[in-house]
Every structure is written in structure tokens, then in C-alpha cells.
Amino acid sequence: MQHSDSRRQRYETAVEQFSDSTYRVAYRLTSDHELARELVQETFMAAWKNLDQLQNQEAMKGWLFSILRNQYSKQVGREKRNQHARIDNESETASRPTTTKTQHEVQEAIARLDDDQRLPLLLVSMEGWTVDEASELLAVPRGTILSRLHRARQRLKKWLAPDVEMKSNES
């Protein structure tokens, strides 16, 4: 009984700490709020089932995101990537009426990135992971993460800078 309480507690802590960040990454990966919710649910469900395998609580973040990544791969397989570039306009409009155009463009640009560039960008730039953490999760060298980040930023700049410039002029 004590074991199950402790287990439950560990799970609830993980939800408190990482549900928002996993959702943000999930949304940026899927470009769809419903798919993102589904992805996060599957991630936490898998985490709950396999929580006993995680010995070190401090490794929770990396562990959860590795599950998220696996679940995303499965989801992509299911969706055949055809949902990838789809933008959830309704949800976005409802949540961010003032920045709809910009958010739409940002999401579209992220969706255009290659898979190997997208995840480092989301983890490091969006979630504030260190390069080493991203390197460990994605099982690629630190230098590779840095170069992928650089390439991703260059591409995004190329796609988004004119719009951002226009937005600055308007304001």
C-alpha cells in the first residue's frame, strides 16, 4: 500500500512539473491541439504503467520526453504525417486572438522543419533544456545538436523574418 502511495505521488509530481512543457512540445510537433492532447495522455499513461522502471526521480524529465518522442513516432506512423502541416486554426483563434497570424506562421514554419531539427529547437529554445540534456535524450553528440539548432534557426529566420519585420513596422 505504501508502495502504491509513493508511486502515485511520484506520478502526480511528474504531472505537476511536466504536463505543460510536454503539451507545448506535443503541440509544436503535431500542429494540432487534439493530437497534442492525445499524445500527452498516451505519454503519461505509458509513464504510469512503467513508473517502476524509473529508479532515479531526477531523470524524470528526460524519461518523460523520451516516452513522448516514442509516442510521437507511433502517432506519426498512424497519421502518415498527413496531419503534420495542419494548423488548428479554431483553437488558436480562441486562445490567442491578437497573435493569430504570427502564431499560425510560426507553427507552419516549425512544421516545415525536418524532424531532426525540430525537436532540438523545441527542447532548447522553447523549453530551456541545456544542449547536453537534448544531446542525451536524442542520443546524438552535443556538436550535432548545436549544428541542428543553428540550421533550424537559419531556416526559420529565412521564412519568418520578413513577417516579423512587417509586424515591427506596423507596431
Binding site: 508511486r7 504536463s19 505543460d20 507545448r24 491541439h33 500527452v40 504510469w48 504503467k49 513508473l51 510560426v106
Partner: protein, 204 residues
């Protein structure tokens, strides 16, 4: 706008994702909705219930089997209204017993008939084999005869003519060639070698 401004604005926009308000509560319900495998016990597992059901079915089947066996051995069915009553009311004299048994004489007759049919088929097969063998032997005998005729007649003549032809071609014409060719014409008058010999004599 410089690069740093762009990047900081972009990172901010990147983080600007609306997280659904009910997400956390939904995730916190997961443990209640799905019990982890480690907390399940053997008695609650589907395997346990299936095993129990299988045992129950096996025991019931055994009991039914034993009941049927007992009923047959005792020969005294309790059912007085159904089929058992009809069976009990049937005559059990020796005649009825005989009719229940197979007609052995008829079975034996059928067996004999089958045996005769098999013997006929075997004879037919044997005669076919013999006929085929005879044909084969006759063909072989004819071939042997032709072979021996050839060796007895054509072969020496052909050798003589061939040898003479080689000698004539190479310009080594000996005194015996003409007589050998004439011997072929005389000894094998109707053979092809005799014709060839005539042609060669004309060239001498």
C-alpha cells in the same frame, strides 16, 4: 531588426502555446482509470477466472460422462417416458439380437468378390507387363539382327571402300586397291559400298 531581437521574439512566440486548463486533471485521473499491472493480484487476473471456468467445465463434463456410463452399465434407465422407455419395451429375443448383428455371410461374400476382382486386375496387369516385355524383346532382337547384318556385310565393305578412298585421295594407289574394290562389288552387290567402289574404280 537584428538577429538577437528576432531570436528572442521568436523564442517567446515559440513558448506561446495555450495549454488546456483541464489537461492536468485529466492526466491525474489516469492512475484511477488504468490500474498498473504490478498492483494486480492473481485472483483478480483474467487468467485466474479463465482457469476456474475451465476447471468447472471439465468437472461438469466428467460428471455427465460418469452418469452416462453408469446408466449404460446398469441398463436400468430412470426415464419412464422418453426414448429409454421405448428401448426397454423393445423385444429382446434371440431373433432380434441376430438382426442387430451384421450379416457375416454377406460380408464374406463381398470380401470374396473383392478378392476375385483384385485377382483379375492383377492378371490383367501381369498380361500387360508380359505383352510389353515381349514387344520390347522383339524390338531388341530386331535391332540385334540388323546390327549383326551390318557388321557381317556392310561394315567390312565400308571399311575397304573408305580405306581405298583415303589412299586415292592421298595419291598412294597400291596394286591391291582395284582388286579389293572389285571384291566389294562382287561380295556386296546391292550395298551402297558396292556403288561407292564402282565410283572409285572409275577414278583409277
Amino acid at each position: 531588426m537584428n538577429e538577437e531581437t528576432f531570436e528572442s521574439e521568436f523564442d517567446q512566440q515559440l513558448r506561446d502555446v495555450a495549454v488546456p486548463g483541464d489537461l492536468k486533471s485529466q492526466l491525474l485521473k489516469i492512475p484511477e482509470e488504468s490500474s498498473p499491472p504490478i498492483l494486480t493480484t492473481n485472483t483478480d487476473s483474467p487468467f485466474g477466472s479463465y482457469r476456474q471456468a475451465a476447471w468447472a467445465v471439465a468437472i461438469a463434463a466428467s460428471m455427465i460422462g460418469v452418469a452416462i456410463l453408469g446408466w449404460r452399465l446398469a441398463g436400468q434407465p430412470n426415464d419412464s417416458n422418453g426414448v429409454a422407455a421405448d428401448v426397454r419395451s423393445m423385444p429382446v429375443d434371440s431373433q432380434s439380437n441376430e438382426t442387430a448383428e451384421p450379416d457375416w455371410s454377406r460380408v464374406l461374400a463381398e470380401l470374396e468378390s473383392l478378392k476375385a476382382q483384385m485377382a483379375t486386375i492383377k492378371d490383367q496387369m501381369d498380361s500387360l507387363e508380359i505383352a510389353e516385355l515381349e514387344t520390347h524383346l522383339a524390338r531388341k532382337s530386331k535391332l540385334r539382327e540388323a546390327e549383326s547384318t551390318f557388321f557381317a556385310t556392310e561394315f567390312p565393305a565400308a571399311v575397304i571402300v573408305s580405306s581405298a578412298e583415303t589412299s586415292i585421295t592421298s595419291g598412294q594407289i597400291g596394286p591391291s586397291i582395284r582388286s579389293q574394290l572389285e571384291h566389294v562389288i562382287r561380295s556386296y552387290p546391292n550395298s551402297k559400298s558396292a556403288e561407292d567402289a564402282k565410283v572409285l574404280i572409275a577414278q583409277l
